[in-house]
Amino acid sequence: MNVAADNILTVRGLCKNFGALAVTQQVDLDLARGARIGLIGPNGAGKTTLVNLLTGMLSSDAGTIVIDGHHIEKAKPETRVRHGLVRTHQINTLLMETSVRDNVAIAVAERQNYAWRMLRYGPQWRACLDEAQHYLEEMRIGHAGDRRVSELPYGEQRLLEIAIGLSLKPRILLLDEPGAGIPSTEAHIIHEALESLPPDIAILLIEHDMDLVFKFAREIVVLVLGRVLTRDVPANISSNAEVRSVYLGRSVV
Amino acid sequence: MQALTILLDGISYGMVLFIISVGLTVTMGLMRVVNLAHGAFAMIGGYIATVLVLQAGVPFLLSALIAAVVAGALGGLAELTVYRPLYRKGELPQVLLTIGLCFVVIAGLTLFVGATPLPAIVPASLDRMVDIGFRSYPAYRLFLIVVGAVLAFIVWLIVERSLFGARLRAAVDDPQMARAVGMNVNRMFTVTFIGGCALAGFGGAIGAGVLPLEPFYALRYLVYFLIVVAVGGMGSFRGSLVAALAIGIVDTAGRYIVPQFGGFLLYVLVFGLLLWRPNGLLPPKSVA
């Protein structure tokens, strides 16, 4: 099997069954440094399952996941994060009772290995807060740092989600529907945020909003019934007959 | 033959646990409420039946039925007033409110009825030995087994064979979906809560010969009821029957065979089982 030299993530033959139901079948996936890949597919295609398999929230039945030469398919979720594989969530999993800045700072502390500190943590925590503020500003929500997350408008909560992902210094960032639930008038905020992400991070964007995917992605992977149907540049995808028929609701397999 | 005796003892004991606990498995499985006050409803039932038998001369079974009705009504009242706001809260508030309810019931019954254990109300017709072929055996225990089996069958009919039961199972498996398809989940909660409390009250009354009634009843046996629910799998009707019988038999056999281990055995087994299967023996689909 050919593996490109600058591949950061290599997935081969990934499988997952729920009882008799095969939700992920023989998925191969390569992400190069700085890649911008869109992952699309109809409801029930297994997109979220795939993300959960990659991040270790679910354990796979077969297949390998390699980051930079490290096999991580058996690793715990937190170990995968330490290898630079980071995700954001489809529905909000933010700490609603905590302040916006602390939400990011907690993630920074985790990355910096300060999170075990119980006593004498003053300077470290301050550094975490400063770094957190930096990511908030990068996502243009620096003004909201002191507010409680539950008081934040939904769109800004989505940006906070991305800021937390960034604060973990990912090499691969899996964005699980960052635009979900955002009114179309505000969709551009997310797009702008995505465009401003550091270029060296490989990004896999899972999204229903086709506008957003086609604007952002340089390549698109189509997932149908747990299999990779095709992978191509956006222009070819939109003209692909098979993909069209899938989205029109007819089965192709 | 000794083994058969132990089995009968265990099953009759388990049946009492089942009758009282089956309502608790619904509350904890369906409503997701850690309900530590369930024993209080069994206790109310037992106290009412005792007072009826001793003061008013009401027959044993009839007073147990009246106790069930009253316990059910009080349960419904409690569901509408103090339990409903609890559904949205975390486990800790649930634990504490229901402990509070327990305290109030204990204090109330003690003030009205007294602090000594209540006299037995098992009628003479049951409080004797009957010949069952290989030996003579307490009639009361056979009575418990029969009543338990009948109730288990009725519960099975309701849960597995009625429309209400189908809805109930659906709601236990996926509460959000049940709401989404327009079920009146609130009413279902009230109805099942009433049913569960009525069963508990009935169990408290007829089981008084195995679990004697006294002011701390509500707390003393609570751990057993909770164990039935946890071992059976929260929200699982079949699980609670299997668990109740298993606990009855294991506890009884353990005490018969190795009495020196006494209290240890059950706790250690439950501890091990929950580590092995955190969701119990037969958990419903939603948590499987």
Binding site: - | Q2, T5, I6, D9, S12, Y13, T110, A115, T116, P117, L118, P119, A120, V122, D127, M129, S136, P138, Y140, R141, G209, V210, L211, P212, E214, P215, F216, R220, D251, T252, A253, R255, Y256, P259, Q260, G262, G263
Partner: protein
């Protein structure tokens, strides 16, 4: 702390209103009024009221004031805390109470240091009185009231025995003491079970006892749910029908008999007080008690203990006046012999433990009421444990 303010204000008023030479003698009682042992507290209080009704609230013009403290559900540290408070704040002259042995052990340091005479109203483990020279027991020890039963059983046709006791210190003491008497008299032991305290389904244990085919079953369980369940299962499982005799101690106190129903008929017990005895002291005691607590009031070991304790305190004040040291009081009390409703009682001057009669009784139905009827009396029984362990501390 309002109640204490009220109490002390009331005490102050009374002091002022009586003549200048009159004093208040304070008797502090620490007992459970809540929790599983609340019955003890209630019985104490009723009996105290009855005593004061019969004998007045003062001795030679000196008021005898009772100060209560609720130690709750068997929390020994509470007991110690209240003892300190009663001694330091209330300046009690005599202390008393203690339902359970740990409650009494908890105060031994405090009373030794403050030299406060302390009357044990229940705690029944033998060693307690050796823990402080200011302890004096008016209740009983487990070993004491069990000791005659084993010998009696063998003499009365119970040649083999099965024992079933709750798995806690008094239960084990009772079992050992019973068996030592039983075996000495030539009886045969067919089985010994210890039942955990939290058990209330006695089916498996009773089944074992039934299979042993012993002549008798000796039980010891805390009063309340466990003993009630034990006796019911004894009846229900046909041990009684099989001709087995039930032997016990405090389980068969008259106050608990209604909880058992007729299944208790024929049960044998040995204790230091038969509630229905016809001594004039007992008739007067029961009369006073029913006047205070209603016609259904039944005295028990708790009532009799506090009744005699008050008797001792009144005698002490009569003899020594309202001001006395702890040593004077203890020396006086332990030299007394009292005609108690239970029979004559006196004290071992060295051990300060009670010497009293022990009665073997049987539950019978008299005039439609379950009561205990004396079968035998063992006079002036000492605590055998102390005699067997002269040096234990």
């Amino acid at each position: 702390m309002k109640r204490r303010l009220i109490a002390s204000a009331a005490a102050a008023l009374i002091t002022l209103s009586t003549a200048a030479y009159a004093d208040v003698v304070k008797f502090g009682i620490i007992a459970p009024f809540s929790g599983p042992f609340a019955v003890w507290g209630k019985q104490f209080k009723d009996s105290v009221e009855a005593f004061q009704k019969l004998n007045g609230k003062s001795v030679n013009g000196h008021e005898i004031q009772i100060i209560w403290r609720d130690e709750g559900a068997g929390d020994a540290s509470k007991s110690r805390q209240f003892a300190e408070e009663l001694i330091l704040r209330e300046k009690v002259n005599v202390l008393g109470g203690f339902a359970l042995t740990p409650d009494a052990l908890a105060v031994s340091e405090v009373i030794s240091e403050s030299k406060t005479p302390t009357i044990i109203l229940n705690a029944a483990t033998s060693i307690v009185t050796r823990k402080s020279p200011y302890f004096l027991r008016v209740s009983m020890t487990v070993a004491q009231y069990v000791s005659p039963l084993g010998g009696w059983a063998v003499q009365n046709g119970i040649k083999s025995i099965y024992t079933m006791v709750s798995d806690y210190a008094p239960g084990i003491d009772a079992q050992d003491e019973f068996l030592s008497g039983f075996e000495k008299a030539g009886g045969k032991v067919l089985g010994k079970d210890r039942v955990p305290l939290n058990v209330t389904d006695f089916a498996p244990y009773m089944e074992r006892a039934l299979q042993s085919k012993a002549d008798g079953l000796f039980i010891f369980a805390p009063a309340g749910a466990p003993s009630v369940a034990m006796v019911r299962e004894f009846e229900r499982r046909g041990l009684k029908a099989a001709g087995m005799k039930l032997l016990g101690t405090g389980e068969m106190q008259e106050i608990f008999l209604p909880s058992f129903g007729d299944s208790i008929l024929g049960a044998i017990s040995s204790t230091h007080y038969t509630e229905s005895n016809q001594r004039p002291e007992n008739i007067a005691f029961r009369k006073a008690l029913t006047e205070v607590a209603g016609k259904d009031a039944v005295p028990d070991m708790a009532s009799i203990a506090v009744w005699d304790a008050l008797g001792l305190v009144y005698e002490t004040v009569k003899a020594l006046g309202p001001k006395f040291t702890g040593d004077q009081a203890i020396d006086f009390m332990k030299s007394k012999t009292i005609n108690s409703p239970r029979g004559p009682i006196s004290w071992d001057p060295k051990e300060r433990d009670i010497i009293q009669n022990v009665y073997i009784r049987e539950v019978k139905k008299v005039d439609g009421k379950l009561i205990n009827v004396d079968l035998a009396t063992y006079e002036k029984v000492r605590d055998p444990w102390k005699d067997n362990h002269p040096d234990a501390k």
